[in-house]
């Protein structure tokens, strides 16, 4: 029986994954500084260059950074595959994404267009190495769970996002001509709902029932919804690119706007459904152990429901606040849904991995996850995160007064998140160093 490439070991090495998690909050801190010091005029239009800058610091620097780390960590557990040369692989994708994301955001925020192409190349190196490696590993698997299928669709979406992003980059740099179609919305839609949304869904199917001992998500939902979203995203892209194909079908041409609208609303509905089912699953959990990570899950799902409801409403609204409402939908989806759930997820992954790597070395009396990081510290960070989310509508409608409030709250929340994760990693390092020192002693004597 062929078992080549199969590993049930808890690879990859500690540092090669944790570096992604400890870097992510630095980017949300950078975003908070821009909002606090220069945030009055960011949320006025979709194409504000500072808005593009901070969104990419969030999506590339925080979200993609932590998602890549999480996927690399979950791969051996969910699929039994080990990445070859994990330290080298992680060093290359982490450093190129860190520098690329930093330069990309900064190029827009500080208007340094000359750096944009370097940023684009570095991001492309990172994402394509990651996508090709993971997609290949998942493609050859014989047994695919719903979570693995969702992961495949999510990473395929990342590839689409990257291609569209690179195209727009060349267009912004005047290397190529614009196609005259709404590529931006396809890029954002595939990024938010495809790359991140489908991945969060797939991971939830696995972790909510297992970690909280709750019933499984309905089979019908698990099996079909991520795939349906993926197909709808393909249709959405086709409908958007239709003018390029010189198709003479009058129905498709005339009804294009409505078909695209219907696709968007269906996707919003599916995500709203996901939020309701997830809240129900969590409420039906058998485990009653207090868990502050659940605060982030609940917040994330409630905001997801509100955000998708607002987005659906906005599809039928053309009043004076249209742009503000669309922007509010986007930032609540980004900060409320995605940011919250990743924040909560980090509090499970980072302490557990620290415990696991120490315990696997046979170290006696390793601090438990809760000794690594006290629940109180997580709750304090959550309060600032929640206050930041609550401040967002005020910031959007009263930016002159609101930017300082939102910026400060996001900074405190992100800094505390970073500090909490750093505390865990420092505890790991201390115990590990002591262990290595003791191990070396007999050899030296």
């Amino acid at each position: 029986m062929d078992m080549s490439g199969l590993s049930l070991d808890q690879a990859p090495p500690y540092n090669s994954v944790q570096r992604f998690f400890i870097t992510a909050p630095i980017f949300s801190m950078l975003v908070s500084l821009v909002i606090a010091f220069n945030g009055e005029h960011i949320f006025f239009s979709f194409i504000n260059i500072r808005l593009i800058g901070i969104i990419h610091w969030m999506t590339l620097g925080f979200i993609t950074m932590s998602m890549m780390g999480a996927v690399m960590q979950m791969l051996p557990v969910l699929a039994g595959v080990k990445i070859k040369n994990p330290v080298f692989f992680s060093t290359v994708i982490h450093s190129s994404l860190s520098v690329g994301a930093l330069l990309f955001g900064a190029s827009y925020i500080f208007q340094m267009k000359q750096w944009l192409i370097f940023a684009g190349i570095l991001i492309t190196i990172s994402m394509s190495l990651f996508s090709v490696q993971i997609l290949y590993r998942l493609a050859i698997l014989k047994n695919k769970s719903h979570t693995i299928s969702a992961m495949q669709m999510s990473i395929a979406s990342l590839t689409v996002v990257l291609c569209l992003g690179f195209y727009m980059l060349l267009w912004h740099l005047n290397v190529i001509k614009g196609a005259g179609i709404d590529i931006h919305s396809v890029h954002y839609f595939w990024a938010f709902t495809g790359w991140v949304g489908i991945l969060i869904m797939g991971v939830s199917f696995q972790v909510i029932p297992m970690f909280y001992v709750s019933p499984e998500y309905p089979q019908l939902f698990r099996k079909n919804v991520p795939a349906l979203i993926f197909i709808l995203l393909i249709l959405y892209a086709i409908m958007t690119f239709l003018p390029l194909f010189e198709i003479n079908d009058l129905f498709l041409i005339n009804e294009n706007v409505y078909i695209r609208k219907a696709i968007r609303i269906t996707i919003y509905f599916l995500f709203a459904l996901f939020s309701i089912i997830t809240i129900k699953q969590i409420q039906r959990r058998k485990r009653k152990l207090p868990d502050p990570a659940l605060l982030f899950w609940y917040t994330s799902m409630i905001v997801l429901f509100l955000s998708t409801t607002l987005a659906t409403t906005a599809e039928f609204y053309r009043g004076g606040y249209f742009i503000k409402i669309i922007l509010l939908t986007g930032i609540t989806f980004l900060f409320g849904f995605i940011f919250s759930v990743i924040n909560g997820m980090l509090y499970k992954i980072v302490p557990f991995l620290s415990w696991f790597h120490l315990a696997s070395k046979g170290i006696f009396d390793v601090p438990t996850m809760k000794d690594m990081l006290d629940d109180v510290r997580i709750k304090i960070q959550f309060i600032f995160h929640l206050l930041f989310l609550l401040s967002l509508p005020y910031y959007l409608f009263y930016p002159h007064a609101g930017h300082l409030v939102s910026g400060t709250l996001l900074f405190i929340s992100s800094f505390l998140l970073w500090l909490n994760l750093y505390t865990v990693i420092r505890k790991y390092s201390r115990i590990n160093n002591k262990y290595l020192l003791n191990k070396a002693k007999p050899a030296a004597t």
Binding site: M1, S7, Q10, G80, F352, P367, M369
Partner: protein, 151 residues
């Protein structure tokens, strides 16, 4: 036909459910419940691990070529699970104080994540592989596992 994956996944779920009751009893300072569910969980888990180590793993190792494959890692994780469970039982049975409760909650949470990541590997990878590798023999293996009723 019953598969190894279905049979063993159901056992995991049953252990999880008992574990949740055990946790709840500790949280509620319910000494009787703690003892009852602690013993129940320890027995259920012990039998499950024994069924794997004494029946499933050797059968799988025979067709997959030795003990150095995925089953080796699973056996190591079983040892980790047993060690943690022993710590929890000792602490819970020695009378729950405010301080020991905090320690217990930390141990319970850590053991839960440890067990679940272990279960994920088995349910997603090992059991489907065992079903494919052992094919016609699966039913006999399940019957043999069912015969193990004590730790």
């Amino acid at each position: 036909m019953e598969t190894i994956q279905n049979y063993m996944t159901t056992e995991h779920k049953s252990c999880d459910s008992t574990y949740a009751h055990f946790e709840e009893s500790i949280l509620d300072d319910d000494l009787n419940g703690t003892k009852e569910y602690g013993k129940k969980f320890s027995d259920e888990m012990g039998i499950h691990l024994k069924r794997e180590e004494e029946v499933l793993f050797p059968a799988f190792e025979e067709v997959s070529g030795g003990q150095m494959g995925p089953t080796q890692v699973m056996r190591m994780e079983h040892t980790q699970i047993r060690e943690m469970l022993k710590k929890i039982e000792e602490l819970a049975n020695s009378g729950i104080t405010k301080e020991s409760k905090k320690k217990l909650i930390g141990l319970l949470e850590t053991l839960m994540i440890l067990m679940q990541q272990h279960n994920m590997k088995e349910e997603q990878i090992l059991y489907p592989m065992a079903d494919r590798a052992l094919q016609a023999n699966c039913e006999n293996i399940i019957t043999s596992m069912k015969q193990i009723q004590h730790v």
